[in-house]
Amino acid sequence: MSERTTIDARGAFCPGPLMELIAALKLMQIGDEVEILSTDKGTANDVPEWTAKVGHETVAVTDKGDHWSVVVKKAK
């Protein structure tokens, strides 16, 4: 059964949301999802750009007002 993990990277400057996402995906199974919360506006673009390059799936990008939520599914 697939699982969803949430990483609260709001206010995290280093290593930052995408690096946290990359590290988290390494510990997950194919089909699992990870939601990353970020106050860095760049995350809404960086994450989908990277997932497209590497072959994972961006499930949702949501503007939550004071932060962004990006959900990624591990595809390989």
């Binding site: 990483i7 609260d8 990277a9 206010g11 995290a12 400057f13 280093c14 290593p15 930052g16 949301p17 995408l18 690096m19 946290e20 990359i22 590290a23 390494k26 510990l27 760049g42 960086d46 750009e49 990277w50 390059k53 590497v54 072959g55």
Partner: protein, 379 residues
């Protein structure tokens, strides 16, 4: 009834906490009201950031080590008996010897470890300086290097986030000093779309690499290394040739954490301001062991440890919480063999590194000695 503080891990975080708490509760320790026990894995304490200088012959190995017993306050009960299982429900830690320790407050400071074996071919094909054996091998291989393609390959997650840039710029200065720079090409690879996780550091690094003639490949997450063909390939579909591969290997937390079901990958889910394990009120987590989305670095461990000390002491002596951790991190950045800068930030203040200078490089060299005062809880 005596209160027992049990610290699992004898690295920087555990050592600062043990020594720091001792300094604040001398009377309670004398009366036997409190005891502090540390479970370590080694009789030796290593200054890990000093490994950076080993491949370049810039530090003597003996400068990196002190006997752990001498670094620790005499009042700390120290066992070289690694924890094998941690039961936070029963409040017991079982060691490899079979001995079981109970506690009133537990500190998890088990650190992180390199995992080059997680990427096919990486352990066989690459050099690294994140442990003494690797740093020695890299030093010996660099001695024989006569020019060619060097790839400095960075993997996530890793500790000491500025080390990849330091290694790259120090390599350039080192090879220039040996008259090999004209025969060498360095390519730096990084997992995300810029040259460093910290945007201001990335903005500094890009023109610095351009000026130095260092190439770079971003969005490079290592898929495999072929040591025979001397190639390294990324999940993003890029393959690079190399003559000399330096890697910042991916890291995991300690095995005892995963074996005790305390956190995937060895990282313990931790409240980012309280530094308490999620779901616990008596289990502190410090340093690399946490899953907090923050730099895994000695300075992080140090500032977290100061917070844990204040809270442990306050809870023991006054029964109240003292203060929250504000996310402070401070890192020196060696920008070559003779210049350096620094960067600091916390949860609310973004980083803003200054221009590199020789003075900051000297201060970093001084800190390499002052570290032992930090470990003793004095600085």
């Amino acid at each position: 009834m005596s209160k027992k503080i049990l610290i699992v891990g004898g690295g920087l975080a555990g050592t600062i906490i043990a020594n720091g708490v001792c300094r604040h509760i001398g009377a309670q320790l004398r009366k036997g009201d409190v005891s502090i026990t540390m479970l370590g894995t080694s009789d030796t304490h290593m200054y890990q950031p000093g490994l950076l200088y080993i491949p370049f012959g810039k530090i003597r190995e003996q400068e990196l080590f002190r006997p752990q017993r001498k670094v620790l306050d005499k009042r700390v009960i120290f066992h070289i008996d690694p924890a094998k299982h941690i039961d936070v429900e029963a409040k017991k830690v079982t060691c490899e010897s079979g001995k079981v320790h109970s506690y009133d407050y537990l500190v998890l400071a088990t650190g992180s470890r390199i995992m080059p074996q997680n990427i096919p071919g990486l352990a066989e094909g690459a050099h690294w300086l994140y442990d003494l054996e690797g740093a020695r091998k890299m030093r010996d291989a660099l001695d024989k290097f006569e020019g060619g393609k060097i790839v400095v390959n960075v993997n996530a997650p890793h500790k000491c986030p500025v080390a990849p840039l330091e290694i790259t710029f120090m390599l350039k200065d080192y090879l220039q000093g040996k008259g090999l720079w004209d025969k060498t090409e360095i390519t730096y690879t990084y997992p995300i779309g810029r040259l460093h996780a910290l945007e201001p550091v990335a903005e500094w690094a890009k023109p610095a690499m351009d000026e130095a003639g260092i190439k770079y490949e971003t969005f490079f997450n290592t898929k495999s290394v072929d040591p025979a063909a001397k190639t390294i390939s990324s999940e993003e579909g890029v393959t690079l040739n190399y003559d000399f591969l330096v890697t910042i290997p991916p890291h995991n937390g300690a095995e005892v954490i995963t074996a005790s079901n305390l956190g995937a990958g060895g990282w313990v889910p931790t409240n980012k301001t309280k530094l308490l394990r999620e779901g616990s009120t008596d289990v502190f987590v410090c340093g690399d062991t946490t899953n907090i989305p923050i730099s895994k670095a000695g300075s992080t461990a140090h500032f977290e440890a100061d917070t844990v000390i204040d809270n442990l002491v306050s809870l023991l002596t006054e029964g109240r919480w003292a203060r929250d951790y504000d996310g402070k991190v401070f890192c020196f950045v060696e920008t070559g063999m003779s210049t350096g800068t620094y960067v600091w930030f916390n949860y609310s203040t973004p980083p803003n590194p200054g221009a590199p200078s020789q003075m900051i490089h000297w201060f970093k060299l001084a800190y390499n000695r002052l570290y032992w005062l930090s470990a003793r809880g004095l600085l």
